[in-house]
């Protein structure tokens, strides 16, 4: 049998190793590195091969007396021949080594997004230091301008954009981040989408939803329609929307929205998908008088009609663009054994899609 070996010898060996190993890996002390929080990509005018990359790094200074210091940031921009060069070129203007472990947001200008995002995202999906929850967004206008801009908020722009996007994903827009982008990018029956951000004087604003065909930007859905898109895309709770009924607006808060997809094979090989939405909400605000109880069914009917019409237009538009942002291909795949990933691109524009929306108003608040 085995005997216990001398413990002193062990301790000696291990101590020796500890001393010899401590110098092997480059240490990364938090004070001596720059943690990039936001990265933006822009095209360079009159130069198709180059990319302008901008990053922002927070600088924490010690507060001398009482009071909280405003966070500051150091912004850097470099022009690189290709997206993959940006990382190395940025090092030339940075006073400390750059790290991406705390990255929150990546912005792409519309021009960049039109050419395809995959080459840029590759760095972030490959890097173990980058989380899957970081926010991706398309900027209407220059991404560098957004990063360098001054805003009314106290926060750094990286955190500002992240909060803006995440807050909206809890309400009127569907949730987006790196994980969802990669998930639908790789999925054969799905196309990704991202929020579009625009700078307006000293504020940022979500302009709508950018639709992608795989990694290329194709078109956008305006913010006013984002809620409808979310209704078609997923089941959720929360959010507000307003609907015109004979020129008078009625505003609704959503309690829950359930979506289900029914798939049917028609005679002659055609396929039909029915998107059934059950929207439960309560009346938040109205410009018209509610007279008695009879008007509630009337409002419900009018809303159903309005939403269904708009939803049909939106779905038609998506089909014309041949982008499957709603992931209908994936829904059919899970229902139909004969689903063909290669043929989906040809089938999708001619698919017979019906939208069926059912609105139920649960209450009208504390007055009638």
């Amino acid at each position: 049998m085995l005997k216990r070996s001398k413990p002193i010898l062990y301790i000696l060996c291990i101590t020796l190793l500890m001393f010899s190993l401590s110098g092997c890996v480059r240490t990364r002390v938090i004070d001596d590195i720059h943690l990039a929080q936001i990265v933006g990509y822009d095209t360079v005018p009159n130069d198709d091969d180059s990319v302008l990359g901008t990053i922002s790094v927070p600088i924490y200074t010690q507060s001398g007396g009482s009071g909280v210091l405003q966070p500051q940031s150091d912004n850097m921009s470099v022009i690189a021949h290709r997206g993959s060069q940006i990382r190395s070129n940025l090092e030339s203007v940075s006073e400390y080594p750059l790290e991406v472990g705390k990255l929150m947001t990546i912005l792409f200008s519309k021009d960049i997004a039109e050419k395809g995002l995959y080459t840029y995202i590759d760095f972030y999906k490959r890097n173990p230091d980058v989380g899957r929850g970081i926010v991706l967004a398309v900027s209407d206008g220059s991404a560098g301008d957004i990063i360098n801009g001054q805003y009314k908020t106290n926060r750094l722009v990286s955190e500002y954009i992240m909060n803006l996007v995440n807050n909206n994903s809890r309400n009127n827009s569907p949730k987006t981040n790196l994980h969802y982008f990669l998930y639908s990018y790789y999925n054969a029956g799905m196309d990704p989408f991202l929020p579009i951000i625009k700078k307006e004087e000293d504020d940022l604003k979500i302009e709508g939803i950018a639709l992608f065909k795989k990694d290329r930007y194709v078109d956008m859905i305006p913010y006013s329609q984002a809620f409808l898109f979310k209704m078609l895309y997923q089941s959720f709770a929360g959010g507000n929307f307003s609907v015109p009924i004979k020129d008078k607006y009625v505003s609704i808060s959503s309690i829950s929205s359930r979506v289900s997809y029914r798939f049917k094979k028609l005679k002659g090989g055609n396929q039909e998908i029915t998107i059934k939405i059950k929207q439960k909400g309560f009346l938040r605000e109205t410009e018209r008088k509610l007279e008695g109880t009879t008007t509630i069914p009337y409002i419900q009917k009018a809303m159903e009609k309005y939403l269904t019409k708009n939803a049909n237009t939106m779905v038609k538009h998506l089909q014309e663009l041949n982008v499957d942002s709603l992931g209908l291909g994936d829904h059919i795949r899970s229902n139909d054994r004969g689903w063909n990933a290669e043929k989906w691109n040809e089938v999708y524009p001619h698919l017979n899609i019906k939208v069926n929306i059912d609105v139920e108003l649960k209450q009208t608040g504390i007055t009638d």
Partner: protein, 367 residues
């Protein structure tokens, strides 16, 4: 002739559960989803269940063999095949055990290099690992079974964190439609899955060290049951969180699952995962090296402690040749094929051969 081990070197029958569980849930569980999903995709969980079932049967055969011969692999080999052929087969088995140790060592080193310290060399990580490993192996099976129990406890909270991916964005529709793959695809996935179970043949060396009890067999079967369950659930979670298309592109799906865990004080949870995983691969390393050295000792009566040192040095040197992802993948493929052959080819052969020999010998004894 039954093999007698002094009682102060033996472990209780429940320790067998932890030993076998640990050797099944090792390095493979961090990455198996990709290879299993390559063929059966969303139906991979069925392959995993069938693989677990097949392993239960193989395990039952092993237990029957061990129970009949009351010894270890060497006892079985020599009494079935005679001294020379038996020794040859045992040597093959030794290479099998040490090959597993090599797989574990290299896979863990490459994980540390890719995920945490790209600048750290193979030698630094491997030497540290093997020193820790040696301190447990030199304590014999009793201390190894102790680390098995501890690592089961340490690693169990990690599985709770897998709720996060399901909660944030698991889509169970990704599992549908069920049974949409051909039996061929399922079989190929089952083949890939076998790599994760191949460690259980360590029971051939461990068995004499387990105290006699009626429960030995059931503890062993429970361990396979638990690990099959774990592999199945984790596979379903991975397919629902990623989808089968994306899963093809992810090298370590389990670690990427941990990426979603975001704590206020900890941006990257997978670093905790990798660190704790050291305790999970340690029993693997210890058990396989112990098994290999024990078999050599039984055949040639060499001092096991010195033998282990020689084996560790050899592993260290061999491992340095496999220190790159492409070669490692090739090696894993080879190991997987070999493991499949041993698990579903050689062991059933051994069992049926033993049945025939038993019948023939009985016949001769009567006549």
């Amino acid at each position: 002739m039954p093999l007698k081990i002094p009682e102060n070197h033996q472990v209780s029958s429940s320790a067998l559960f932890f030993i076998l569980y640990q050797i099944q849930v090792g390095i493979g569980i961090l990455a198996y989803q990709r290879t299993v999903g390559l063929h059966a995709e969303a139906d991979g969980w069925i392959s995993i269940l069938f693989c677990g079932l097949a392993v239960q049967i193989v395990l039952w055969m092993m237990l029957q063999l061990l129970d009949h011969f009351q010894g270890d692999l060497i006892t079985i080999h020599t009494s079935l095949f005679g001294k020379w052929l038996g020794t040859g087969l045992t040597i093959m088995y030794i290479f099998y055990y040490l090959g597993m140790a090599l797989t574990v060592l290299n896979s863990y080193v490459s994980i540390v290099q890719v995920w945490m310290f790209p600048q750290m060399s193979y030698w630094e990580i491997a030497v540290l690992l093997l020193i820790v490993g040696y301190s447990f192996i030199s304590g014999g099976l009793r201390s190894i079974s102790g680390i098995c129990l501890l690592s089961t406890i340490y690693s169990s909270p990690l599985f709770i964190t897998l709720i996060f991916p399901v909660e944030t964005s698991g889509d169970f529709d990704n599992m549908l439609p069920l049974f949409s793959h051909t039996p061929e695809d399922m079989f190929f996935s089952l083949k890939e899955m076998a790599l994760n179970f191949e460690g259980i043949s360590i029971i051939f060396m461990v068995y004499p060290f387990i105290k006699k009890s009626k429960k030995v067999a059931s503890w062993a079967q429970y361990s396979v049951f638990l690990s099959t369950f774990l592999y199945t659930v984790l596979y379903i979670i991975s397919v629902c969180y990623f989808n089968t298309d994306e899963l093809d592109h992810i090298l370590w799906p389990t670690m990427s699952l941990w990426k979603i865990v975001n704590l206020p004080f900890m941006e990257r949870f997978e670093y905790i995962g990798i660190t704790i995983w050291l305790f999970v691969i340690l029993p693997n390393l210890c058990l396989t090296i112990w098994g290999g050295s024990r078999a050599i000792k039984r055949m040639f009566s060499i001092n096991q402690r010195k033998l282990v040192l020689v084996i560790l040095a050899l592993l260290l040197i061999c491992g340095s040749f496999f220190n790159n992802q492409l070669l490692l993948e090739k090696w894993n493929e080879l190991q997987s094929l070999f493991g499949l052959g041993v698990l579903f080819g050689y062991i059933p052969f051994l069992y049926f051969y033993h049945l025939i020999v038993k019948k023939v010998r009985k016949h001769h004894a009567k006549a």
